[in-house]
Structures are given as C-alpha cells and as structure tokens.
C-alpha cells in the first residue's frame, strides 16, 4: 500500500510542478514585494522558541544574582529554577573541563555497585556549554553521565532495556541499513565491570516495539513488529533466563495480532493493553504488504501468567485509545490519557485495573488537561504524569495520583515542554530522557523527596546537541540510570542517526 500511495503522490507532485512556470512566478513574487513589507507572522515557531529561551535565561540571570549556586567545595550540586532550589549531592564523581571540546570524566566510585572496576575512563565528546548560566535549563554542577564500554551490538532504536538487578539486557530493535532491519540479537551489560556479553539466539524473528519485562528471574519478550515496512505484528514470545543463559518459547497469545501495545508486569502477570491491529504481512515475493486481516478488529486486554504459561483475556474496560500510558502500581495497573481510537477525542481520564478481581474502575478526574505522548511512571506510592502534547502543542505540566487516597496533586512543571520522552525511576529520582524538541538539555530529574526538577548535564554518548531530538530507551538500575542506543534527529533537516553507544548515571551516593 505504501508503495502504491507513494507512486501516486510522486506522479501527482510531478504534474503539479509541471504546471508551474518558475520564471513567471519569480517575477510575480518580486513585483509583490512591498518596500515596507510586514510579514503577518514574522516569527516562525523555532524563532519564537528561541526568544522564549532567551527570556527564560534572563530570568535565571536575574535570579542568579540572588541565589548562591555553589556551596563550598563539598561537591554539593545545585540547580536553580524560578520557583525552587534543589541540591543533588554527588560526591563521588568529578568532572574537569580541560580544553574546549574535551571533557574528562574521571570516575572514583569505588564503593558503588555501579562503579566499573576498570581504570577511570576518559571520553572525548563534542563541546559542552561551559559559559555561565545562559539558559534556564543549563545544568549547574557535575553530576555526570559516563559512557559505557563498546557493546557487541550494532546501532539501533526501538529496542528494549531490562535491568535484572545485576545486568542490563538489551534486545531487538530496528535500524535503517539499506532498508529497515529488525534485530533478533541481544547482549547483557554489567555496570560493575563495564563489560558486555552476547546473548544466545532467541529463536524468534527480529522485532521492535515488543514487550520486555523482568519477572524476577527471567526476561519475558513478547509481541512487537517483525516487519517495520508493513507494520507486521506477531503474537509469539520467549523467556530469557540469565541463570541458564537460555531462551524458552511461550504460548502464543489469543486474539488478533497487534502492534504498538502497552504492557506492564504486575508481580504475577504481564498485562497487555491497547495497540493497533497488525496491518498485514509482506507478500511472498517480498515486494508488497498484504491487506490486513481485519483493520478494525477489537483488541482485548490480555494477561500472561508465566507460572502456568497461559493467557487470559481481561475484562473489557475503558474505551480503546492510542498513546495512553500503562503503569504497574502495587499489583494494580493504572491507565491514563491518550486519544480515543473511536472518536479521536483527546482524553484525560484514568482507570485502574485490579488483576485479582478482573475489574476496571475509573480514577477521579485530575488537574491535567487531555493529552497524549506524556510520561507516566510509578514512584513508589504515586503515579506521576507529566509532559506530552495536546491539540495546541507540547506540554510541561504534571500531576501525581495517589491510589491510596484517590487524590491528585499538581507537581512542578517540567523544565521544558516535552512529548514522547522516556522515563524511569529509582527510589529517589524520576528521570525523563529525550523526546520531541529538546533544546539545550534532554535529561531531567525530579527529586521525589523534594518535588524539584533539575536539568542534567548533556549525555556524552550518544550525543544529542542543539535542536536535537532523542528517541532512546532508559532503564533504572536501582541507584542509577542507563540509556543505550536509540535514534537522534538533529539540524534543520532532522538528520537521522542510529547509535550503538550508551551512558550511565550513578546516583548511588
């Protein structure tokens, strides 16, 4: 279908362009130019954003005169925003900017479980901003990411990262190499030794957008897209058990094959919800995509129990939607926001699913407006929802929902308007990484104790600098975060690049 539609579009474009006499049009445009031309909308979106940033920077510069940014030499790091001041203590990491373009990150985290036992690493990166606060989001301090060692895997995005407690499991994904390639390989990264080992063959097709959850002793991989060009879904899955370094297939899921679903691990089951019906498979000659089995098929929620290797269809709940979020919350599952798949309405409703009773219940209405592509995470006792976008653009506000009290409370705004970001939590911090339209920074932490946001230093590897968007997964290591691989788009033409690099942020101290 894509090939046919593109062929028609190109032919139509050629006909339209052939109808234009460029000489006449050029002369007509010059004739229309008044001497005192005032554009109706003189500023394009990027320029408006730039001005907003400069204004924000001015606010910080003024505030900076009133607030002490650094307290002595105890490596206590502080970030200032217009409302609050937060301190992030990172005594274990020091960073020295030796020369323009070179950042030496020396790690002295000997007592941290995340500290590599190898010698301190030195990384040469693109220049980082070193001038005094020129932006409201400029990081203050030296809380540092460190690059992880070279992995055996190739560049990719839309892969999964799963933390086992000892290792980071990287599996699957996609990249463009003379056409899209869906990967079926994986590797395990040990942050203590800063080393990788390759995983054995999983025995299933390469894929992206799959579920990957840690069940306590194994990684469960299920579903996903096996042909990116045709958006072909799959219902098969496998377990990977690190103890035996082996894979084991699971029973196929019931019901229509789907893509772009959400999934969470509740402690006993993997809950699967939402997604699109698969759009078919490639024809045997490999040239076209077949028609979908049923593009309007209803997709029931599913639950998979690894103990019994069985699936069950869960109770029908809220209306089908896309770009909503699913969060595991102390044995229950919380669903929030998105766009209705039926009415195209933007949604701000939330639902709770209890696997024990197989029942859905609607959450109280919160303070947030309808949105999609937001982040939502479970932070120990609350679900935090932030960012995303609505019809008018990107959003930065957020709120937290406490299932115990059934109440919402607003939280401070994200330091930037962001959609499609990735998020993960430790006991103390929420990390928001990448997403659409980040500018000078693309990683922020929310201190869950003080409810304050901080901007993190630029990630050294993969780099993503000015006007760059990062699409990369992030995983919590319990007392730190790690990101590996992903895709970045930068520059006016949104140049796309896939990566096989990663960085780790240690918050153990």
């Amino acid at each position: 279908m894509d090939d046919r539609l593109r062929a028609i579009a190109h032919a139509a474009r050629a006909e339209a362009e052939a109808a234009i006499d460029v000489d006449d049009e050029f002369a007509a445009t010059i004739r229309r130019t008044p001497t005192n031309f005032e554009p109706r909308r003189a500023l394009d979106r990027q320029r408006r954003r730039a001005i907003a940033w400069v204004a924000a920077a001015a606010v910080v510069l003024i505030a900076g005169g009133l607030v002490v940014l650094r307290s002595g030499d105890d490596n206590t790091l502080q970030t200032v925003d217009t409302e609050t001041t937060t301190a992030i203590t990172s005594p274990s990491v020091s960073s020295a900017i030796e020369a323009p373009g070179t950042v030496e990150v020396s790690t002295t985290l000997e007592s941290s479980p995340l500290t590599p036992t190898s010698t301190p690493r030195t990384a040469t990166t693109a220049p980082t901003t070193t001038s005094p606060a020129t932006s409201a989001l400029e990081p203050v301090g030296e809380m540092a990411w460190r690059p992880v060692s070279t992995s055996p895997l190739s560049e990719r995005s839309d892969h999964s990262l799963v933390w086992t407690g000892d290792e980071l499991l990287v599996w699957g994904g996609v990249a463009s190499v003379d056409g899209f390639v869906e990967f079926a390989d994986g590797a395990a990264y040990d942050p203590v030794s800063d080393t990788w080992r390759e995983l054995p063959d999983a025995g299933i097709a390469g894929r992206l957008g799959h579920s990957a959850v840690w069940t306590g002793d194994a990684m469960l991989v299920w579903g996903g897209v096996t042909d990116f060009g045709c958006n072909t879904g799959t219902s098969d899955g496998v377990f990977y058990e690190p103890a035996t370094d082996s894979w084991l297939p699971i029973s196929p899921a019931p019901g229509p094959v789907r893509t772009a679903h959400s999934s969470v691990w509740t402690g006993d089951e993997m809950i699967v919800w939402g997604g699109f019906p698969t759009l078919g498979a490639r024809t045997s000659d490999g040239r076209f995509c077949d028609a979908p089995p049923d593009p309007n098929a209803e997709l029931p929620g599913l639950a998979y129990n690894p103990l019994t290797d069985s699936w069950r269809i869960i109770a029908a709940g809220p209306e089908p939607r896309i770009s909503s979020t699913l969060v595991a919350a102390d044995g229950k599952v919380l669903l929030w926001g998105g766009i209705s798949a039926e009415s195209d309405d933007w949604l701000a409703d939330g639902w709770s699913y209890d696997p024990a009773t197989d029942q859905w219940s609607e959450l109280p209405i919160g303070p947030l407006s309808p949105r999609m592509s937001h982040i939502a995470v479970w932070a120990g006792d609350e679900m935090i929802v932030a960012g995303g976008q609505d019809r008018d653009g990107l959003l930065s506000d957020g709120a937290a929902f406490d299932p115990e009290t059934g109440r919402w409370r607003p939280i401070p705004d994200l330091p930037a308007e962001i959609a499609d970001a990735e998020a993960a939590t430790t006991d103390r911090y929420l990390l928001v990484l990448g997403g659409c339209c980040s500018q000078d920074a693309d990683a922020f932490t929310l201190d869950l104790l003080t409810d304050t946001w901080a901007s993190l230093p630029l990630i050294p590897s993969p780099p993503c600098r000015e006007s760059c968007s990062r699409n990369a997964p992030v995983a919590s290591l319990g007392d730190g975060f790690v990101t590996w691989g992903g895709m970045t788009e930068s520059g006016p033409e949104a140049d796309t690049q896939w990566w096989a690099e990663g960085s780790l942020l240690d918050l153990s101290k």
């Binding site: 028609i8 049009e25 394009d44 028609a291």
Partner: protein, 178 residues
C-alpha cells in the same frame, strides 16, 4: 531589489518554489491557492533574505513557513469555501483548476484518494508520501511529536487502505485479463 548572501535568493526560489506549489496543490487541491501560499512564503523569505541567506538550509525555512500557511489556510478558510471546494473536486479535474488543457490524471487520482481524510491527516500524508519527509521531519514541521505523526499516519493508512486495495485488485485483474 538585489538580494545577496551566502545563498542566492533566485537560485533558492527556483529550487524550492515548484516544491512548495506541489505541496500546496496536493494538500488543498487548488493550484491558485497553492500558488498564492507559495508566493507568500517566498515574499517572506525575500524581505528577510539578509538573515536567511546565512542559514544552512533556507529551503527548510521556506518549507516550514509554507506548512504553517497550509495549516492556517485550513483554519482561515470558511466552511462555506471548503464546501465549495469539496463539491468542486468531485466534478472538475485538476487541469480545470490549473486553467489549461493539460490532463492531470495523477493529481485527480490523488485528490480522489485523500479527499475523505480530515485536514490534518491530509497534510501529514502529503508531507510523508509526496514530499518524502521522515516522521521526525514532519513532527518538527507541524510542531507536534513523533508519536502524534505516527498515530496520524496510522489512521490515514487505515482509512485509505480499502480504496487502494480495491485499486490494486482492479489492476491485478486488468493485468490478468490483458
């Protein structure tokens, strides 16, 4: 008016103008509207060329402005005008709208296919299939997220698939019979 800079205005105009018009025609279905919007875009570029000429990609700036104008076009065009255009599309060929006798079967076919789509889906589909922009590029252009673009494309594909499959089936039968 002489315009100078790292990029030459006329050179960029000749390169980018047909692309802007074709984008406008494929989106709005009207050559006159597309030509007006493309001219408006290039007028804006002309009046600030001293600055634009130093940009790495002034064509990208023009593309962004044209896209914004197309979004505004839908917002500012009255429902009455849009109804007239929709009615017009059913009975006339693109060649009529162009104002010459040139047959434009592909343009006609394109408009027949995308006519049922909501305005935003038509814009995204045009940028994706006719302009060959990536999801990320479209997200930047229309000021939305990659996820929103993907969702829009998904819905558009789902809406268009029956018509395209039927056409493919007709072609296949035609080939077989032929």
């Amino acid at each position: 008016m002489t315009v100078t800079g790292a990029h030459d205005y006329e050179e960029v105009f000749r390169d980018v103008f047909p692309r802007l018009v074709s984008l406008g025609v494929l989106k709005t279905g009207r050559v006159d509207s597309a030509r007006d919007l493309a001219q408006e875009t290039m007028l804006r570029a002309h009046t600030r060329w001293d600055e634009l000429a130093t940009y790495d990609a002034p064509a990208a700036w023009c593309h962004t402005v044209m896209t914004n104008l197309l979004i505004d076009y839908h917002r500012t065009t009255t429902s009455e005008q849009r109804a007239v255009e929709r009615l017009g599309r059913r009975g006339e060929h693109a060649a009529d709208r162009i104002g010459d006798a040139t047959a434009t079967p592909a343009l006609d076919r394109w408009h027949e296919i995308v006519a049922p789509l909501p305005d935003r889906q038509r814009l995204v589909v045009t940028l994706y299939y006719a302009d060959d922009l990536s999801v990320g590029q479209i997200a930047n252009l229309v000021g939305t997220s990659r996820g929103a673009v993907k969702a829009t494309l998904f819905k558009a594909r789902r809406a268009l698939r029956p018509a395209l499959d039927a056409e493919a089936s007709r072609d296949f039968q035609g080939d077989s019979n032929g």
